[in-house]
């Protein structure tokens, strides 16, 4: 069966197509160049004047796992404001800051997104993350598994184990957790908090292991690179939210010996200490550093005003910041000598100086980083704002007049501390397509997504070109997932189950003997039971698992 999308303006940066009018053919869920000789077209869509892009990819969104479900449990009052009724096609749920899994899938699809990646999968909680994502319909998904505060790695570092052994452990963890990448959160800091340390700067030692975050970051960024994992080490820096943390972030970029790293929700790590209130924007310095260092990419973690909830593996930072939360209730957990989590509701206010400046800092970073292939559109859902606010954020980036009008409404003191009004840049549709499609797919390591060339999975979003970019991106005309029409006029018309993306880097299985011995001595579960199987993910007809290639694997160091 062949589907033809006729005459749309195509924005496909991976193939350097910038708004040219093209026809697109879809066969068996894939984009193809052209029909075979004599092959009939079964279905046509006239897209004359419409904007056509690949389906959008959220490369950092908290959609599954323990902390997400804790956040749901914590906030019944928020859900009550956004009930989602059962329809003929879709099941019931609730939305707003931390939606139920089903509603998450529907709403992402209705916004033209066809994939989302959970960035904080704890190895010991990976099965839950996959179970929740398994109940998230339509979109593709995957996760980055957290290392860096786990006792086994810190032990290896303290014992000065060689890099090859560490690489084996990292690869073993990716297999066991069915992960697409490696995430490090407050390197060594979650562990340090369990030993009652309250801060851990880049060169400060964890009091038990005598290991610094810098050592953890160097080792893990090298491991990811040497294993050939396409997604660079995903780094949630130390000192989140602390005024002056811009120095830590700049040092982190400089400190990884040129290995590729991705700095996530960098807005929360770009704060200076200037001004009367000792809180200022470090955006210009951060953007300059990203512009210069080609091994570095970042997503912003933009905050937008209103109620949300922050859910993070960084229980050290969440504990530190809980007093600023609203409503005033919060959960922190120490987890299995492996990781932790902290869930703190936040209400960002435009008249609050700090919140207003955080908003401006995020936008400054977006606009001052030159290369859209290395900066990504996120709100760190739900930490900066729920993902449903992406169309609003896109409008802020594409429409200077609108942005300045919004700027004029925030705390005047924050306005005075921001250079935002002087920045003229407006993102183009091509650049938005890079940030949310082509660049995101490349960064995550999805070879067949995020573009519309032959062979790509036919995840395609069609918009009406409107001057109001928020309205345009909120409600696509059509969304195709693997070639099937799943959304029409901004509403789900078909429910499918997406694919779970993983990588399985090669490693020396000998490491498993060590890990097993360790689990038997210290843990409360059998090592074998930590492993997430394909069946756990795809049971009951919930999609399938796709393993991506780890190209460019490096030989073992001598």
């Amino acid at each position: 069966m062949l589907t033809k999308l006729i005459g749309g303006k195509v924005y496909d940066p991976a193939n350097k197509i910038d708004g040219q009018v093209r026809d697109i053919y879809i066969r068996d869920g894939r984009v193809v160049d052209r029909p075979r000789d004599g092959e009939p077209v079964s279905q046509e869509y006239n897209l004359n004047g419409k904007v056509v892009m690949a389906g959008a990819i959220d490369m950092h969104t908290h959609i599954g796992g323990g902390k997400v479900n804790i956040a749901r449990m914590l906030l019944p009052e928020d859900h009550r404001g956004d009930p989602v009724a059962h329809t003929e096609l879709c099941r019931a749920g609730c939305g707003h800051v931390i939606p139920s899994t089903l509603t998450t899938g529907y709403r992402y699809a209705e916004m033209g997104y066809t994939a989302g990646f959970e960035p904080a999968v704890l190895p010991i909680n990976a099965r839950q993350a996959h179970l929740e994502m398994g109940d998230t319909p339509i979109i593709d998904k995957g996760g980055y598994v957290m290392l860096g505060s786990d006792d086994f790695l810190l032990r290896m570092l303290a014992a000065k184990k060689d890099q090859n052994a560490i690489n084996d452990y990292v690869a073993w963890t990716m297999h066991a957790s069915q992960a697409m990448g490696i995430k490090v959160v407050n390197a060594g800091g979650i562990s340090a908090f369990k030993f009652n340390q309250r801060m851990l700067d880049l060169d400060e030692k964890n009091s038990h292991y005598q290991i610094t975050p810098r050592e953890v970051l160097n080792t893990l960024s090298r491991a990811v690179y040497e294993l050939g994992v396409p997604h660079p080490l995903h780094v949630h820096g130390n000192n989140l939210g602390v005024p002056g943390n811009v120095e830590t972030t700049l040092n982190t970029m400089a400190g990884v010996e040129g290995y590729p790293i991705h700095l996530t929700h960098i807005q929360f790590h770009s704060y200076g200490t200037e001004g009367d209130r000792k809180f200022s924007s470090g955006a210009a310095r951060i953007a300059e550093a990203i512009n210069q260092r080609k091994n570095v990419s970042a997503d912003v973690g933009q905050i937008l005003f209103g109620q949300t909830v922050t859910a993070s593996g960084d229980n050290m930072a969440q504990f530190r910041n809980h007093a600023a939360g609203s409503p005033h209730k919060w959960v922190c957990m120490d987890i299995e000598c492996d990781a932790g989590c902290g869930v703190v509701p936040f209400k960002y206010k435009d008249q609050n100086f700090v919140n207003a400046l955080q908003w401006a800092i995020g936008l400054e970073i977006f606009l001052l980083v030159d290369d859209p292939w290395r900066i990504f559109l996120t709100t760190d859902h739900p930490n900066g704002a729920p993902f449903t606010s992406y169309p609003h954020l896109i409008k802020l980036l594409m429409d200077k007049t609108f942005r300045n009008e919004m700027l004029s409404r925030i705390s005047p003191d924050a306005q005075a501390m921001s250079t935002l009004a002087s920045i003229d840049r407006e993102y183009s549709l091509y650049e938005i397509a890079i940030m949310t499609r082509a660049g995101a797919a490349k960064l995550v390591g999805l070879h067949d997504r995020g573009h519309l060339g032959a062979g790509a999975g036919a995840d395609i979003t069609v918009y009406t070109d409107q001057p109001d970019r928020e309205a345009m991106f909120a409600k696509p005309d059509y969304v195709f997932k693997d070639g099937e029409l799943v959304v029409k006029d901004g509403s789900v018309v078909k429910v499918t189950w997406g694919t779970t993306h993983t990588v399985k880097p090669e490693f020396d299985r000998g490491i498993e003997r060590e890990i097993k011995k360790y689990f038997d001595a210290y843990h409360t579960v059998n090592m074998e039971h930590v492993k997430v199987t394909d069946q756990h993910i795809a049971d009951d007809g919930r999609g399938r698992v796709q393993v991506h290639e780890c190209k460019g694997r490096r030989e073992k160091a001598v």
Binding site: R72, R91, T533
Partner: protein, 428 residues
Amino acid sequence: MSNITSTSTFQSITCPACGLLCDDIHLARNHSGKLSVTQNGCQRSISFFSRAALPSSAKIKGNPVSLDEAVAHAAKLLSASKQPLFAGLGTDVNGMRSIMRLADNSGAVLDHMNTNGLMRNIQTVQNSGWQVTTLTEVRNRVDLLLIIGTDVVSVLPRFFERVVWNKESMFGQDTSQREVVYLGGRDLDISAGTSPDGRKPQALPCDVARLPEVVSVLRALVSGKKLHATEVAGIAISDLQNLSERLSKAQYSVLAWAPPALNFPHAELTVQNIADLVKTLNKTTRSSGLPLGGSDGDMSANQVCTWISGYPLRTSYARTYPEHDPYHFSTDYLLANDEADFLLWVSSFNPERTPPATNIPTVVLGHSTMSFEREPEVFIPIATPGIDHSGILFRMDNVVSLPVEQLRASELPTLSVVISAIEKAVTC
């Protein structure tokens, strides 16, 4: 497992009999499919695995019928209902997923058989949040374990063996020096709290009903308040003062409670007081709460309900969208006030957890050996996760989930299969 009909032995099997989900059980299976624990058992696991696989038939009003007839009758009763209640919910993750789908399609209320206790914890999370920990952290870090209102072992038999008196620990702690204190309760069996070298635990007994006062006093002392009283509920303030000082000095204290044991009105406020006490300790040192529970799939039911509906248990789909009410949507309340006209009761792990007495039409999807004082309208025997089929369960700490295995051939249908059949029959 190569052949699930022959005799065999198993190692590293996960036991669903309590919230610990011990996964080191050794089992033997004889030619008739009977299982027996050969190593690492406890009273609960021995009785759980040794329950016979009785050939069992579906029944309508106590009379044997075919599965199809039972399903058709159950579907008819459900279709006729204006307000169905799905309760018990003793099942695994996939079983609960199917329950959620049917509840959504039929406008049912969801409540678990353990929720009267569990809700005390859920309400604490909803009201104030908490700082809690998981079993491997306890095993490797705890230096002072304060147990409030329970003996622990009647809820989680191997708790001390697995996470308190373990020989090895990650950070070089001499685990035999761990301090154990029992606060509240009368005539508790505290023998498990005795250290391997014979050191007895401290006990500060009082009536459970007076724990609200005792916990408040301890929290006040930890917060640095001075009290004029010299005793509370029979416990000397000086003993509590001493305990408060030890908690403040401890490097990683753990405060454990079992919600069902706190069986007095508004016990959620006492749980909240414990949670706030832990938060206070964390201003200067490290401390964590540890809620004890997790039997009959309650953690699994609550997790699945929360991610699929957005709300924890005691959630209703009556108005086509989920609504949550910790009081109104309780089984006891709905039955006492005639607000439900159909009960679907699920208990796949435990034949002793039979449905509450009620006059409304009741469909029981239960353990094959379940028997009734009064036969329900429909009884369908279902497979037990972790014996008759594989599945996934959440442990008591709500973080770790473990796969459970099929250990013997079984003709019993899984809960998901029966629910799907009912769903189909309702739709037809």
